[in-house]
Symmetry: C2
Subunit: 203 residues, 2 copies
Amino acid sequence: MKLYEFALAPNPRRVRMFIAEKGITIPTEQIDLRTGQNRTPQFLAKNPSGGLPVLELDDGACLAESVAICRYLESLHPEPRLMGTDARDQAFVEMWNRRMELELFTPISRAIQNTHPMFKERMKQFPDYGEAQREAVKARLERMDRELEGRQFVAGDRFTIADITAFAAIEFGSMMGVVKIDPSLERLTRWRESIASRPSAKA
Amino acid sequence: MKLYEFALAPNPRRVRMFIAEKGITIPTEQIDLRTGQNRTPQFLAKNPSGGLPVLELDDGACLAESVAICRYLESLHPEPRLMGTDARDQAFVEMWNRRMELELFTPISRAIQNTHPMFKERMKQFPDYGEAQREAVKARLERMDRELEGRQFVAGDRFTIADITAFAAIEFGSMMGVVKIDPSLERLTRWRESIASRPSAKA
């Protein structure tokens, strides 16, 4: 297997963290999104959507989409469980992972893509829309602080893929100037520090 | 179990189709999104995100997010397999389902939310952004037509959740004036007719 990824992008980071938490190693190849290496015919043959990461299997089949890659790796290396234990727990972990993806990761990405100078050349920007997304992010982070009352992790008492999704989104948003966590959000601040202190956060 | 849903909304339709394909029955309760029944304190206690559908389990726990609900139902009623057979097949079905969701369902929803008069009162609209999303939908449908060359269904030779996601998106987009499939897209037209002819399409 081989993972096509890009060190600076948030979706590859999700899969890198997942792999690190599993304690496994997968060879990687960097595809530089900034220079359009994901838009070459060679790469589009692996993933016509042009996104990263992509997991190339030993028979050459290419699996795209971070969560699909993580679930496949979870099936090959079940422990530690990062996507839930039994069927019921798996369902609630998926619910939380999707909330973090759709309600946090997505608006952070859209705020960045529509307002950051780095994306000016790459796509048509809609700055007003991007600003509205920034407000949505702020509101969602405040809600996340309340959700973390009495629980150590996003989906409950156990570290899961939902923590990875939220952390990758927040770190990318911070780096790009879209996220700033107010220190008054104490539970969120505490959660973020606890995730940042895991070895996988450096992956 | 009980499913909170709304007959006219696309995400509940995904789960209704999934349930119909499984041949099972789950009692439902309508939550009218148009009159804000999903924003009452009673409903927000079930799903703080305010989205539909929500599956209430017998112990009162509430599972939100369509795909999480479908995966849970797949675990309870494995046949017919709608989310893949073995781990590898499940990964590729998930990839295709996410592509249909992120690259088709999402831009259709955003085009509608940002341009349709029905959403004027419900959210701040960004019509230019909505128009750009409409163009993205058109391009993705053309690509989908090419992807369907030599395959009967979105993820290959078997009907899966990826077909449900794409179909629910396209039907909602058509109803709301955002999707119009050009008859020259013959494979897409043929696929759509084949899905529409399934009994579950009426669910």
